[in-house]
């Protein structure tokens, strides 16, 4: 017997007592109770709690808000499909990642910031979800630069974790981000800033 067959055979024999069917209760909250108008505030509150920067912007003021947040010189990394209007007021150097000319890890390591959108955001837990979709790019873009600026339209915010996961396609590469990188490894106290971006700025657009 090969290992696969043997492990499966062991498991089948271990269940020889024929354990009963188990019904799974689902009495937990799947949808939130938060007033939709207040979701963005709840998200902001949670993000601040984990030391992310939170900035509010109108659609029209977005380019200005972003350029004020981004380092004047750059270099700024962006995925290929980031909307032009986001960068309309930015004068620094911009490095565009693309399938044809992917940015190397060294280049990314030397970049000052990265600017992306997200797939959805979960208010309850202060979580941004990236799935490699529009304006998000490859996973390493939001990992290597030390500063991540993420644009979140308030209409993309959901209340609960179940609502957030429902919006995702499981087989895409998914990254859930809740605050800047952190560790609790020293005396179990939380310290922000280890290997991932040490600064996370979230721009809420309403």
């Amino acid at each position: 017997m090969n290992a696969r067959e043997e492990v499966l055979a062991r498991l089948r024999s271990a269940l020889g007592d024929g354990p009963a069917e188990v019904a799974v209760p689902r009495a937990y909250r799947r949808t939130g109770t938060c007033d939709p108008d207040r979701l963005a505030e709840l998200l902001a509150d949670r993000l601040v709690d984990y030391r992310a920067g939170v900035h509010w912007s109108s659609q029209d003021g977005l380019a200005e808000t972003l350029s004020a947040l981004l380092p004047a010189e750059g270099p700024l990394v962006v995925p290929p499909d980031v909307p032009d209007r986001w960068l309309a007021a930015y004068d620094g150097q911009v490095l565009v990642d693309s399938d044809d000319a992917p940015l190397g890890t060294g280049t990314l390591d030397g970049a000052a910031s990265v600017l992306t959108g997200c797939a959805t955001a979960i208010a309850q837990t202060g979580t941004l979800v990236l799935d490699g979709g529009t304006a998000q790019g490859r996973r390493l873009l939001t990992l290597i630069p030390d500063h991540h600026v993420c644009v979140v339209p308030v209409t993309d915010i959901v209340d609960t974790v179940p609502e957030g996961l429902q919006r995702l396609a499981p087989t895409r590469p998914l990254t859930l981000i809740s605050g800047p990188s952190a560790t609790s490894d020293i005396e179990l106290s939380r310290v922000e800033g280890v290997h991932g971006p040490r600064r996370l700025d979230v721009v809420l657009v309403r």
């Binding site: 498991l11 996973r139 990254t175 809740s178 560790t183 609790s184 280890v194």
Partner: protein
């Protein structure tokens, strides 16, 4: 015939012997006390703000019970989905086989080093040692694992393997053993974290092979999930060309939607956060993004043997949050190393003996006062105390011929403990019996012989004197007070 697990699942000494050595280290006890109390409080705060916590626990428990029941089918489903998505799936009966597979895979890439994400499963199989003897350097990248590796020590906690060190000790380890660390490095956690960042940066950017575990494996989709904080996990999961994930077969969940339960239960229970900073999920290979070769090693190593015990199998539901360690009075005093296994604390006391066969780890089911604090915090509602008592019976059965008197006593004890009222009565009787002793012993709170029937405990170990008030009695007494306080106090927490 059960096939048991091998690897870092037992130590050289019985628990009570090893614990006595650890108890003699005051700094260790102070470090543990400080750390476990910090995390306990944080956990409680974020759990209290979830109004449907109990409902989430009930779902988590039921999902995992269903997984156990359908494990063979779910594994086949997981394998098919992962292969379809471009992963290669391997099976390992035990630690040695898993180590051979991983070592072979690393060698096939031509690389002589690999970066590692913190993974208890790879610690369980002693993978680093196996890689080393094959001439492959494995670099731990999680801060706590890095500390333990630099110190040439062993993990003592499943979430924070270096929990037994305080910041001064960590600073000294870094100064002495981390290449490039400045002599002026201070003990400020921010500076220590920065030192680790600098130390590992180049290694991440040049790594060709990464080795991970997984917190969850989704049967329907072949998706693996890693929950972490620092970003070292994301580095390992994204930058190298080849990714090898060693996954215990107990890590399965049936569907992607089930993650909505566990991603709420796990972070709050483990680090006391609403959500951990980073969670990565990947399915096979994504062209142009991340490792283009992904391997998954499905590991048994005693899990099938654990599944064969109808009472004990619930230990396979464990999501390794470590909440039970952090509230355990025995763990807090003895520390993780005393358990000999990579899995310490209450979960260790029930999982290690089942993975290895109770005979190999017969002292671990006794590494508990059965106070029940672990049951109360377990996010998947494992009845740890019940499994402990059950395993004590099995440990005694294993020695049937020589110790029949103890076996009978243990059965009686198990009968007493299976009913809270009976247990309460026995404890009160014991307290009366030991009251004069307590006066005599002064400050010492352990006794070598408890009155019958609790003498079953002390026939082979010291027991703490029964507390002046048991946990259950305390709970009864204070519950009324707490309920009253809550009524007078509008509930804090959720703003939604």
């Amino acid at each position: 015939m059960n096939a048991y697990g091998t690897g870092h699942l037992y130590g050289p000494a019985r628990f009570e012997k090893a614990a006595r050595v650890e108890l003699a280290k005051p700094q260790l006890r102070e470090n543990l006390r400080h750390a476990t109390h910090t995390i306990r409080d944080r956990r409680e705060e974020v759990v209290d703000e979830v109004p449907d916590w109990e409902q989430l626990r009930e779902s988590g428990q039921a999902i995992k019970a269903r997984v156990a029941r359908q494990l063979p089918e779910l594994l086949e489903r997981f394998e098919a989905a992962a292969v379809e998505a471009g992963a290669t799936v391997h099976w390992a009966r035990d630690a040695d086989e898993a180590c051979r597979i991983v070592t072979g895979l690393v060698k096939d890439t031509g690389a002589s080093e690999a970066v590692k994400i913190k993974s208890m499963t790879t610690q369980e199989i002693n993978l680093n040692e196996a890689l080393e003897s094959a001439g492959i350097d494995a670099y731990e990248t999680d801060l706590a694992e890095l500390i333990v590796q630099l110190a040439e020590d062993k993990p003592s906690h499943i979430l924070v393997p270096a929990i037994h060190y305080n910041r001064e000790e960590i600073r000294d380890i870094f100064r002495q053993r981390m290449p490039g660390a400045a002599d002026t490095l201070s003990d400020a956690p921010e500076e220590l974290a920065e030192a680790a960042r600098t130390h590992l940066r180049r290694r991440f950017l040049s790594a060709r092979v990464a080795i991970s575990g997984a917190n969850f494996a989704v049967a329907d989709t072949g998706t693996l999930v890693v929950v972490e904080s620092e970003g070292n996990g994301r580095m390992c999961l994204t930058l190298p060309e080849t990714l090898i994930s060693v996954v215990g077969i107990d890590k399965l969940v049936p569907s992607f939607a089930d993650l909505e339960v566990f991603l709420q239960l796990l972070p709050r229970s483990s680090t006391g956060e609403r959500m951990n900073p980073y969670t990565s999920m990947w399915t096979g290979v994504t062209p142009g993004d991340g490792p283009q070769r992904t391997h998954i090693v499905l590991l048994d190593n005693g899990r099938s043997a654990t599944l064969s015990d109808p009472v004990g199998r619930q230990a396979l539901s464990c999501i390794r949050c470590s909440a039970c360690l952090n509230v355990c009075p025995v763990y807090e005093r003895a520390g993780g190393h005393a358990y000999g296994s990579v899995y310490p604390g209450p979960i260790g006391a029930i999982i290690s003996p089942q993975l290895t066969g109770v005979g190999e780890n017969a002292s671990l089911p006794y590494a508990s006062t059965l106070c029940g604090a672990c049951n109360d915090v377990c996010p998947v509602k494992i009845d740890i105390a019940d499994v402990l008592v059950h395993l004590r019976g099995r440990a005694v059965d294993a020695k049937r011929d020589t110790l029949s008197a103890e076996r009978i006593a243990m059965r009686l004890l198990s009968w007493i403990m299976s009913d809270p009222r009976r247990y309460g009565r026995a404890l009160r009787a014991a307290r009366r019996g030991t009251a004069p002793l307590a006066a005599l012993l002064g400050g010492r709170r352990t006794v070598r012989h408890l009155p019958w029937p609790l003498s079953a405990w002390t026939s082979s170990r010291d027991a703490p004197l029964p507390a002046a008030e048991s946990f259950q009695e305390w709970w009864q007494r204070t519950r009324a007070e707490r309920e009253q306080a809550q009524r007078g106090n509008p509930s804090k927490g959720e703003t939604s």
